[in-house]
């Protein structure tokens, strides 16, 4: 600790205070303010309307909120489940005592982690192309010339495509975390279980998996939160499409993409900034609650361990 005058402390803190107030806080507060007005692109003389935007968002039947939220939650659940599954199987494979050269496998399998995500998203879009994309090309070798998965034009296929890309991007992180946790499981424990007659399946579920859980839980919650607010990768591949019903958002319109498309006003004559702001604040409250929950879980866990 350094004993200094209060003025000195203020002088040191001034730059960050200025920056946070002007560039970080102002837009957030302005968005909050907007959400209580009736501002639109063409409504210059807007005024205060109280909670009208929130009521519209939550209680009107043509509100997209629940559809978009449900779609996003579905995406998060599928993605995170696959992250855990693929990450765990890969970690177990690399940790197998008879597998040689695990360092080399590791460096190959971690490549997606080092590659810049936005660029690889565009590359994946290229791979998914219906006519020229290599995925369909390879399919044509096996299933004849008329084979083709409409990756980016069929709702289910597009959803699967963005899941595949997200798994590709995220499994290395899970593999690293789980491999670290696996290597910290004392060998004696699995050996003891095996001496006591447990088979490989029992050893995994009863001995190894409980040891993995403390490492895996926070990572899972964290990646659920980041997947919930995923934007760039999905947007660059599908832009939220494909749209099958003009009254509903597209099949990969997750919360951030929905908001962005609304702001760009691609599908509307008049951009309703106030309603978008209300949507943003709602999403922020959900995210804040999730983050708070994650941190609460995290501290409880570390207290138990300590």
């Amino acid at each position: 600790m350094l004993q200094v005058k209060r003025r000195t402390i203020f002088f040191y803190l001034l730059p960050i205070i200025v920056m946070i107030l002007f560039i970080n806080m102002t837009p957030i507060l302005y968005t909050l303010y907007l959400s209580f007005t009736n501002n639109t692109e063409f409504n210059e003389s807007y005024n205060f309307v109280g909670l009208a935007n929130y009521i519209h968002l939550f209680f009107t039947s043509d509100s997209d909120l629940y559809y978009v939220l449900a779609l996003t939650v579905l995406y998060v659940v599928i993605c995170v489940a696959l992250f855990v599954l693929v990450g765990m199987v890969t970690a177990l494979a690399l940790n197998h005592p008879k597998v040689k050269g695990s360092a080399i496998w590791m460096s190959v399998l971690l490549v997606p982690w080092a590659a810049p995500a936005a660029i690889t998203a565009l590359i994946w879009k290229f791979l998914f192309n219906y006519d020229f994309g290599p995925i369909n090309e390879i399919g044509r070798i096996f299933f004849g010339a008329h084979f083709g998965v409409p990756w980016l034009t069929n709702p289910v296929a597009a959803f699967a495509a963005v899941v595949i890309v997200n798994v590709w991007l995220s499994y290395p992180f899970f593999t690293v975390v789980m491999l670290g946790a696996l290597q910290s499981v004392p060998k004696e424990m699995t050996e003891a279980a095996s001496v006591d007659g447990a088979n490989a399946w029992q050893i995994f579920w009863k001995v190894t998996f409980p040891q993995l859980r403390p490492a895996v839980t926070p990572v899972t919650i964290l990646s659920a939160i980041t997947t919930f607010q995923m934007f760039t990768t999905v947007y660059l591949i599908t832009a939220g499409g494909p749209i099958t019903d003009p009254a509903k958002p597209g099949a990969t319109t997750f919360v951030m993409i929905y908001m962005y498309n609304q702001v760009l006003g691609a599908s509307a004559a008049n951009i309703h900034y106030a309603q978008i702001a209300a949507f943003s604040i709602t999403v922020f409250i959900i995210l804040g609650a999730l983050t708070f929950l994650a941190r609460a879980l995290g501290t409880r866990r570390s207290e138990v361990q300590a």
Binding site: L2, I20, I23, I28, H96, K98, P116, K125, E137, W168
Partner: protein, 323 residues
């Protein structure tokens, strides 16, 4: 309960002893009876899990490398199969013509220059604005210190994307939107990286003994000199790691850049991720050019990443773990 447990263990013990004896006898019998093929089959079955593991790892390696491999080969395939519908896993006669095209016909240099400018400026601003604050949060005790640290974390939970309209108005208000949109972008990116930078550097400052500065001050240094000449050089790894993360964090930012930057006639005023995205028109994507450009813009980033990995160990783990 205990008795039941020990009973179970005893049962298991005896069962295993029996089965062990049984297997030994069967094995002895088999050694005489079985043909060599039978032995080979048994060995294969015993090794089957390992074989399956290797197959899985090979499949995963293909999954991991395929996109990158494919884009590299497409970039080298030349322009003869720009819209080719026949699959090529290896280009017949590799050529650099796509790279030549990208550098001569497309504003790749401008994109890289714009992106580097935005990232460097945002890193500089971000470091400048978080450095003294991080030092104060680490070294001084004042009312509201804990609250400020929590407030920073709460801010981090708010994705800037949600306030994109407000950011647009802010840049308009600062008169940056039309005159210097790249500076505006850098400002917003810097604000986004403040929390990470502050926490990371505060954590690292915490690990540097305060005695060093006190010694310097006893020797006649001012507060500022002690910070600037003693602590800062010691915190170089944390500075480097923070700077790198700030730089890389804004390198491929798409949402705000796409919102703020309006492409001019040949798109030379864009950042590269916008340019790369613009290359992917729906019907007329020149795949070879796209692939070459993607490789060109990825290389600096991955090189930076590999070069800076050595800083991570000291700068990020030490700084990041300590709260």
């Amino acid at each position: 309960m205990n008795e039941e447990l020990s009973g179970n263990i005893l049962k298991a013990e005896s069962g295993r002893a029996l089965s062990a004896a049984g297997t030994a006898a069967i094995a002895k019998e088999r050694v005489h009876a079985q043909s060599r093929a039978e032995v080979a089959r048994l060995r294969f079955l015993r090794n089957l899990p390992v074989v399956l593991i290797y197959l899985y790892l090979i499949a995963m390696a293909i999954f991991a490398l395929f996109p990158i491999y494919y884009v590299v080969q497409a970039s080298l395939a030349g322009d003869q199969n720009l819209y080719a519908t026949s699959l090529q896993l290896f280009p017949g006669n590799p050529t650099f013509s796509n790279y030549v095209y990208a550098f001569t016909q497309e504003p790749v240099f401008n994109w890289l220059l714009n992106t580097t400018f935005v990232c460097a400026l945002s890193t500089a601003i971000g470091l400048f604005f978080s450095l003294t604050g991080a030092y104060a949060l680490s070294r001084f005790r004042f009312r509201g210190r804990e609250a400020s640290l929590s407030l920073l974390l709460a801010l981090q939970a708010f994705p800037g994307l949600l306030a994109i309209t407000a950011y647009y108005y802010l840049l308009q208000y600062l008169n940056l939107l039309n005159t210097a949109p790249l500076v505006g972008l850098a400002l917003v990116y810097a604000a986004g990286s403040l929390v990470f930078g502050t926490w990371n550097m505060k954590g690292y400052f915490d690990t540097i003994p305060v005695d060093l500065e006190q010694a310097a001050m006893i020797d006649g240094a001012t507060m500022w000199q002690a910070f600037w000449k003693v602590t800062l050089p010691l915190a170089a790894p944390a500075l480097a790691a923070s700077a790198l993360f700030m730089f890389v964090g804004s390198y491929t930012e798409f949402a705000l850049a796409n919102f703020v930057l309006n492409a001019n006639s040949n798109g030379s005023n864009l950042t590269f991720i916008l340019g790369l995205n613009a290359l992917q028109g729906t019907y007329t994507t020149p795949w070879g050019y796209f692939a070459a450009t993607a490789v060109i813009v990825s290389v600096p980033l991955m090189a930076l990443f590999l070069y800076a990995r050595r800083f991570f160990q000291s700068g990020l783990t030490v700084g990041g773990v300590k709260g």
